[in-house]
Symmetry: C2
Subunit: 423 residues, 2 copies
Amino acid sequence: MKPNFSLRLKVFNLNCWGIPYLSKHRADRMKRLGDFLNVESFDLALLEEVWSEQDFQYLRQKLSPTYRAAHYFRSGVIGSGLCVFSKHPIQELTQHVYSLNGYPYMIHHGDWFCGKAVGLLVLHLSGLVLNVYVTHLHAEYNRQKDIYLAHRVAQAWELAQFIHHTSKKADVVLLCGDLNMHQEDLGCCLLKEWTGLHDAYLETRDFKGSEEGNTMIPQNCYVTQQELEPFPFGIRIDYVLYKAVSGFYISCKTLETTTGHDPHRGTPFSDHEALMATLYVRHSPPEQNPSPIQRPAERSPLISVLREAWTELGLGMAQARWWATFSGYVIGLGLLLLALLCILAARGGAWEAAILLWTPSVGLVLGGGAVYLFHMQEAKGLYRAQAELQHALGRAREARDLELEPQPAPLLEQQEGDRAEEQ
Amino acid sequence: MKPNFSLRLKVFNLNCWGIPYLSKHRADRMKRLGDFLNVESFDLALLEEVWSEQDFQYLRQKLSPTYRAAHYFRSGVIGSGLCVFSKHPIQELTQHVYSLNGYPYMIHHGDWFCGKAVGLLVLHLSGLVLNVYVTHLHAEYNRQKDIYLAHRVAQAWELAQFIHHTSKKADVVLLCGDLNMHQEDLGCCLLKEWTGLHDAYLETRDFKGSEEGNTMIPQNCYVTQQELEPFPFGIRIDYVLYKAVSGFYISCKTLETTTGHDPHRGTPFSDHEALMATLYVRHSPPEQNPSPIQRPAERSPLISVLREAWTELGLGMAQARWWATFSGYVIGLGLLLLALLCILAARGGAWEAAILLWTPSVGLVLGGGAVYLFHMQEAKGLYRAQAELQHALGRAREARDLELEPQPAPLLEQQEGDRAEEQ
């Protein structure tokens, strides 16, 4: 490889808002998106919320002259909505479906039916191994009282773990997608601290687009304005994140977002804004080489975010167990009612009441049973993530304590506790 | 590292048959297993079917003086049943839950409720990175008419992909567990071809134990004898598989199984036989170094097994879609009945019949709906695995064709087809 080697990557990301029958002007938007992607000729176009496989097939056909490779990530009842178009051949691909993704009885939210996932593509470009991830996490419907917070944190942890374990031999890691989290949110911090990914918006010196890099903005005619009321400039929940390992350096030369309309001033491609990044990968000069060994001071944010996530998942678990217990009582009540009805029927009295109450009693038992099973599974899923976090936390603390020797670890813990109390 | 470096690994694997209330002598077997593991002091003890977390906690406490680290992999409603005890610190851990795992309405089989998974531990031993996987795939209840075949093949593929993508920087890979597959079964071949793992039983020169290395044998008093009728010597469905990469060489010095009773001639630890392997990892002499580039002839079994798995998943998909369509009709029938009942009730006639038929109609709609959703999800899951297989098949064919140049690829395909027709 040449010493002045440099690889340019043009990347496009968009949450396409492609809900059949519900999303406005879907066909027209898909057509214009296809035209735009063909003209701009990105290296990679990563899309979310392409819920209809027909839309993917349409885009695949339309984009095939420019983008040789394409893949649609299938999961859940509806699908993950994720797909990717690449100018370069895809060497390998796989996906991971998140074990927690909302509640099946929250039909109006619908996330559970989608089977939210993270898709992985491995590309070989100019001798570099590039791991590209695309994802879409659970939506946030109410920021003040977010019943899905624990699920989103667990998803962020699974995403971080998936990237961590599958990218060990990659030279460059790229994650695009709709994380449904603001940059300061717990899940977002957890993801960045655990994987070491950098945020293109925060890193680039050349940003063009919406105020504060927001990807849902009030200027977009498809956005429900009430949802953005607490955020007059909009919110930034779609990301391009990246890192380079093993002697390479990656930087974001330019980052651009659409600004509430398509790049030709027409109606927007979606209710989200598109992200367009130009990344450069170079050989890493020694001073820019990311240090593989974190110093104790660098471990503190990791330890703190792991601890915070652990606590949040604990709260989610308590909630899940409460629902499991509650549905246990409902099952009990249903069984009691059924027993009473049987006694009533056996004695030959009140047949009509028995027949009328039969349906709700069976409903209570079956409905309660389904809810019980679901929340037991939820509690197990949260416990699993919590146990992994606990392990990671233990390892991070051990590493920090080892580095801080000869100061004894318990004393350090004590000091930390004292500081926390003082604050 | 010294040139004559050698690492010895003593590994224990057992499907513990630990179903609360159902498995005979569970407490006694767990106690004796704990005693045995403490005495033998393996590097790693990998267990399956530890369904009760209390059993895991009991073993954890009992084994803590010998095995410093332990982990229980939680998933599904009941759990994955997987756990691990390690003499060495666990550096990292994670797990992957299989997206397909039987049917929730097959309650008597129960696999769906378990959330079958693969657990991963990363250990650092003498400067080596060791990735240890433990898993348990869907049971085979009827070999002649196996309705779970497509699910097991999909699980084998997910397992193979998980190992492939997470072990790229590992020096040694070890997989133990109950695969519920015979060595010649499609899923088993797929797993071995895709990952390059070797079977300890087939590789070792020093095997002691049951006939043909079987891990479910008629001599075991807990085994249901009818199930083994077609196999008078038993079946081999539990495995120790391994490989070394990046300049190392791994061999199985000894492999031992129990033979229908515990090693002290008492009643067995489980209805499965335990596997005890002693593995050695050494620097790889050049001639033993596994070739990273497969020759065309070596690709043929991979291509053939990928093709076969692709076909099997296709059959599973057709079945899943048939069930989805059937349940669609059931929903339709339920809705029709409900409409008739409403009309009947509105006209003021046949109240009793209306009330009586209300429950089955609602039951048809809700039950049909649940079955429809489940099989749609199943079809999506199978399609996902099939698409990944298709991609892998394409890449393998391209690689073979490239290696066989200047012979044109289409001609080769034609020749292959001709040969297949001749046979």
